[in-house]
Symmetry: C2
Subunit: 306 residues, 2 copies
Amino acid sequence: MISKLITEIKKKNAPVVVGLDPQLSFLPKFLLDKAVAERGESLEAVSDAIYEYNKSLIDATYDLIPAVKPQVAMYEQFGISGVEAFKKTVDYAHEKGLIVIGDIKRGDIGSTSEAYAIGHIGTVTVGSKTFAPFDEDIVTVNPYLGSDGVKPFIDVCNKCDKGIFVLVKTSNPSSGEFQDKSIGDKTLYEEVADTVAAWGETSMDGDYSNVGAVVGATYPEMGIELRRRMPKSYILVPGYGAQGGKGSDLKGFFNEDGLGAIVNSSRGIIAAYKNEKYASFGEEGFADAARQATIDMIKDITEAIA
Amino acid sequence: MISKLITEIKKKNAPVVVGLDPQLSFLPKFLLDKAVAERGESLEAVSDAIYEYNKSLIDATYDLIPAVKPQVAMYEQFGISGVEAFKKTVDYAHEKGLIVIGDIKRGDIGSTSEAYAIGHIGTVTVGSKTFAPFDEDIVTVNPYLGSDGVKPFIDVCNKCDKGIFVLVKTSNPSSGEFQDKSIGDKTLYEEVADTVAAWGETSMDGDYSNVGAVVGATYPEMGIELRRRMPKSYILVPGYGAQGGKGSDLKGFFNEDGLGAIVNSSRGIIAAYKNEKYASFGEEGFADAARQATIDMIKDITEAIA
């Protein structure tokens, strides 16, 4: 899968992923009003509005970007109908030729991680038929449970040509609370990174591995060190834009070949219309604002790493 | 919420939770055949069979136990309809007066953890109406992202009288890979435990905190130490039975007052009919086998901690 992602990144000259994280406060009022008029004040109405929102965002950006990253929490918060909107978003992104990175951050003991892997990037067989339940292409995985929590995902990557990004150093302010702790001569996140590099050897796909890492844009110094420690792992970089990461911080996340990282922005793109810079698009122009913000982000990053 | 759980544990004299983790291989064939006859070879058929299975298991055990713990991965693996079966299981368990521990092991950056917390143990407002999307009572949480990944869950605990169990030392064989690493004069899991104890102070509910911990039955020595480090945190103990934990290993997880821990068994109860010891119940008697296995487990544990 990683070679497919790299092909798309090169084709579009955009190491960028748009995070489809539809918080209720981001939804343009007219979309929510329309859905409520049709389905009443309900979780189903919100979920319909989310799907319409995502569809417009995908329509406005799919020719610019290789992938989208829906954050499943933002759908789970609206219950079953929210999860349905998640699945419909995955399917619509695929229709438009996009790779889908499911930001699910799952991780559990072996048999349970296997179930997550099957549900999100694998297949399940019922009698004579086989189904891909959520059908994402790549998912994020939490490493706290160690190898037997991660390997079931890698097995599915190998079987179904899929990928994972393992949390190494997350973008949030308190990520250092455990991740930065010193264990012997390195930090916990460096230990996790070394383990990711080793896991990665078991699922190579061209020059890079299907086992990548998550490292926040908000920690550029650590990005340089982690790039070195995991030379064959793609790095998914959240935290650009609204969380504070800038293009100029990102060079160190990339390899000499200009590859090796893909940078996510969620709020900065999908809620661009709420940003002073793009306010002229208005709420009705939310998708055009997202398109312009995507163009600006791609320029910022490709210039920074040139 | 923890005081409600304690009341139920005392009332039933059973510090035991049944894990509703319906793997496809556990489902009695006649249940799956019936569902497939009605809905064809489909994820919907499997999900219907899972719900019927859970319903019978709950009917056979609800008078014996305080709580059930559905593992959401086992439902997510069957897509949307699987998640629907999860929600129906939560609702049915509530109808029968059970507390529901959603084993979801979520954890993310602040705003995203907030969405998970809202979706699983909180409420969401749409216009003039308020909904509890998945409506569990307690959920498991992954601490790798640090305080700002956990605090949104605690905020919802305080607002909605709910609880969490934070992963400290998990039951799986490779849990030590990161969790046992030494950081200064303690291990990572001890550091997490100390942090859980501190988080717990912010959500007290009687003698115990709504912020509990997960510590595997497979590590009894560590259970003793962790009991000491988190005196006010209830410990959810997975790994009993099929994973190797025995009643005699568990005394150290409890406080002097006989409280402080609740032990989970999944496979050992719900697939008891596949175990030689309960084979006489037959596949049709799977629920009666589960009841007997629950009675035996409660006896094993209450005797061990007496």
